[in-house]
Symmetry: C2
Subunit: 124 residues, 2 copies
């Protein structure tokens, strides 16, 4: 699957990032992995994970002690695609998006070259 049209909020996406990184985790581990000055309460993270479960974005894998473990049920790529598509829509094309990145210094010409090279390599 991973094709599902699941819409994630910002925070939900953040939690998914953690799960993609860790592969599998319980709520406590997710909370610990969240990188913020003001870390959300345990139950807050829990709620998010629950919502993700309802949406079908994560699934339970096992139980250790009385703690549940979760893993992603959708791919990082499918989520990124969605986010990127939305932004492209808003900005009006991927070219303008990248142009904007370059203009604002978020991306250097060297970066572009590196990406090009990598792309060429993987293409063939």
């Amino acid at each position: 699957m991973a094709k599902e049209r699941i819409a994630l909020t910002k925070f939900e996406t953040e939690v998914m990032s953690v799960l993609w990184r860790l592969g599998e985790a319980n709520v406590r581990e997710v909370q610990d992995a969240i990188d913020r000055t003001e870390r959300p309460a345990y139950t807050t993270v829990q709620t998010i994970v629950q919502r993700l479960e309802q949406k079908g974005a994560v699934r339970r894998t096992r139980k250790s002690g009385n703690a549940l473990y979760f893993e992603p049920a959708i791919t990082r790529k499918s989520v990124y695609r969605r986010l990127v598509d939305e932004l492209i829509d808003l900005i009006g094309g991927s070219q303008p998006l990248v142009a904007h990145l370059v203009e604002t210094g978020k991306l250097s010409l060297d970066d572009l070259k590196a990406i090009e090279k990598a792309a060429k390599r993987s293409k063939k």
Copy 2:
């Protein structure tokens, strides 16, 4: 100004896009310019414009008949920057973002080259 940290929703951004394009418009014109199968009600657009006004993203310019005209009070670039920054944060860097674009075919190598060229030109 245009430096303001104004957060816009998707729909608000859509309306801003129209205003950036038209330069100035009344609610009716904005509604007409919105490109959707299911066009929102006049009053819906009106509400959004009002919220944008409250947020300081647009300002009234004049009155014609009894219709108000609005113009953007923040720049396209500042809004894009915000959106892009958020996405980059989520994805973890602008390089991965562009790489993703290339991978998923949203951007061709030729596009990259074109951008590079344009960037080089404007740089000097």
